[in-house]
């Protein structure tokens, strides 16, 4: 990673557009990939990209946004920690005549020039439907939840629930948090397996937890008997699908989101008009189409 840390941010640009990217967190590979996509586009478009990392804290993000306004960037791309909390910051940017683009997560108010996202609820549904299909339409399932209170956990959980409600003959026997963490995914899955020795399927709200569950299942000698589905399509998960350890994951294309958002920002800086809504496709990754995703 060169994180666009060429430090020259202070110099300002002669004609070069300056774009602030306020990320919710960089301690998550998904957003690292998004950032990399954005940087790639910035280099291609000749845009100066300033990245901030709120570490999943709404207040820190408000501060980051404030700092962007202070620096007088041309466009702000924000990936909100909290859709409601970001509104005041967006309004402040609007007041300073700085267009705002939201990426991955929407804002509940303010003037948004463009929204670029994939749908986490839909992804949760797709993943869970595939899980149920692989289980043969019935059986017991467990869910590993993300960090309580985060929007990814909420939306994916909602998608999971929608799919479960639509199916019949599927029983949710456990739903426990493992905080999006592989180690905790391991621990919690291991505990769930103890209480539910003939569990048929497991949906994890991200791949890290799914991979932890894979290791726990392997150690418990039940990897063959259980269908595990994750979310995010990180590299390790793709390998696990190829090896047959995981059944599926959801590919969100964060790099595309990053690229698209910077390209949109560049257009805005040139005074061009842009699409208000730019959906980015989510894809179900299974052993059938895994080769498309493995580079």
């Amino acid at each position: 990673g060169d994180d666009g840390d060429d430090g020259g941010g202070a110099a300002g640009g002669d004609g070069e557009a300056r774009v602030g990217l306020a990320l919710s967190t960089l301690q998550n590979p998904f957003f690292v990939t998004l950032r990399d996509g954005a940087q790639e586009a910035a280099d291609a478009e000749g845009v100066e990209l300033i990245v901030s990392d709120a570490r999943d804290d709404a207040q820190t993000q408000a501060n980051d946004m404030q700092n962007f306004v202070t620096q007088g960037v041309d466009v702000i791309i924000v990936n909100p920690v909290d859709s409601a909390a970001i509104v005041t910051s967006i309004e402040a940017a609007n007041q300073a005549d700085i267009p705002v683009i939201t990426v991955d997560r929407a804002a509940e108010g303010g003037e948004i020039a463009s929204h670029i996202a994939s749908d986490n609820v839909q992804g949760g549904e797709m993943a869970t439907e595939y899980l149920i299909e692989q289980m043969g339409g019935s059986g017991t399932v467990a869910q590993l939840e993300g960090i309580a209170g985060t929007s990814a956990a909420r939306d994916r959980g909602e998608g999971f629930q929608n799919a479960i409600d639509a199916a019949s003959g599927v029983e949710v026997v456990a739903s426990q948090t493992a905080n999006f963490d592989r180690d905790e995914g391991f621990t919690v899955a291991q505990n769930i397996f103890q209480a539910n020795p003939d569990l048929d399927g497991l949906f994890a709200q991200n791949d890290e937890m799914a991979l932890g569950a894979v290791e726990a299942a392997r150690e418990g000698g039940i990897l063959e008997d259980i269908v595990i589905v994750g979310f995010d399509a990180v590299e390790d998960a793709l390998k696990a699908i190829e090896a047959g350890d995981m059944a599926a994951t959801i590919a969100q294309q964060p790099d595309v989101m990053g690229r698209l958002s910077v390209e949109t920002a560049a257009s805005l800086a040139n005074g061009d008009t842009v699409e208000e809504n730019q959906p980015v496709e989510v894809k179900l990754v299974t052993q059938d189409n895994i080769q498309e995703f493995l580079q």
Binding site: D5, G9, D56, A58, Q59, Q66, T70, Q71, T88, G149
Partner: protein
């Protein structure tokens, strides 16, 4: 008695120090400001400086309570969770239950008082070490905040609520900054001029001696932890107003920032020492550092390295200097 006279002379700088608080952190802050203003043209602008102050306002409110607790020889790890719980209760009461906002605010502060009091009772009556008592409530209060909000942010406050905090007096001074300054002036006066405030230093210096001297140690501690709880909840309300929303995960990990601000400000975790002015400077050091690194567009990974290093160096030069002086 030459000894006595020598002692007086030796004490003169100490007097100056008493009035200014320890000068060490202030020097560190000024150095940081000077370096950053050379590195970024945006840094030294008045609006940015007020931004920094406003950005630290929530942490500063939490840290005020923690300063008292730490001077008394205790610690409060539950600040971040109580912040979320206070905000959550207020939002739940107003948005979900439709109670009038002033009542909701009182309920929010009230729950902070309750958690603080429970901390105090666990410590004084239950004899649980402060670290464990407040760690337990870090967990409990966070859990309750999640339960109350059902894990989702709650928003939907009237405009005037937001303005209480974000309105800029004279066009530049946000009201939250004025609130912080007011609270800190009150805090400083309390510690210096109220008998109960002085007692905190005695309790932190040596609890047994304080007891032998006839102080009501248990009562003092209960008051302290309750006050810290109320201040944490107040921080939650300010945050809620500023963002027009409260997240159940708000303030996670804030305890380390808060304690760092207090200790950078010259307080000792073994108790008996510390000033609120020092804490404010400590919070500003952290805030200025983050702001500056953002303005310089330092990658967030390296930011953590730099922040850690600067904090260590700041505290080290301060203590070494004080030792020599």
């Amino acid at each position: 008695m030459t000894t006595a006279r020598a002692a007086v002379a030796k004490d003169l700088p100490a007097r100056a120090r008493r009035v200014l608080g320890s000068s060490g952190p202030l020097v560190g802050l000024l150095l940081l400001v000077i370096v950053l203003s050379f590195m970024s043209p945006f840094f030294l602008r008045i609006p940015n400086l007020f931004n920094v102050f406003q950005q630290i306002s929530v942490i500063a409110i939490l840290a005020l309570g923690s300063t008292l607790v730490i001077i008394s020889g205790g610690i409060d790890l539950s600040v971040g969770s109580v912040l979320a719980l206070g905000g959550a209760v207020c939002a739940w009461a107003f948005v979900d239950q439709g109670l009038p906002l002033p009542l909701a605010i009182v309920l929010g502060l009230g729950i902070g008082a309750v958690v603080g009091l429970v901390n105090g009772l666990l410590i004084t009556v239950g004899k649980v070490p402060p670290f464990i008592a407040t760690l337990a409530n870090l967990s409990v209060a966070r859990g309750l905040a999640l339960v109350i909000t059902e894990g989702k942010p709650i928003s939907g406050f009237p405009e005037w609520f937001r303005n209480i905090v974000t309105f800029d007096l004279f066009g530049v001074v946000p009201l939250s900054v004025i609130l912080v300054v007011l609270l800190y002036v009150l805090g400083a006066a309390y510690l210096r001029y109220r008998p109960a405030g002085r007692a905190i230093y005695a309790i932190g210096g040596n609890e047994e001696v304080a007891r032998l001297s006839g102080l009501h140690v248990v009562k003092a501690k209960l008051k302290l932890y309750t006050a810290a709880g109320v201040l944490s909840a107040l921080g939650g309300l300010v945050l809620t107003a500023r963002l027009n929303s409260i997240q159940p995960t708000a303030g996670a990990g804030a305890e380390l920032d808060v304690i760092a601000a207090v200790v950078i400000g010259g307080a000792s975790l073994s108790g008996g020492q510390g000033t609120v002015s020092g804490t404010l400077i400590g919070a500003l050091i952290i805030g200025v550092l983050r702001n500056g690194l953002n303005l310089l567009n330092v990658s967030s990974f390296w930011q953590q390295v730099v922040i850690g290093a600067v904090i260590a160096i700041a505290v080290m030069t301060d203590t070494l200097r004080r030792r020599r002086g």
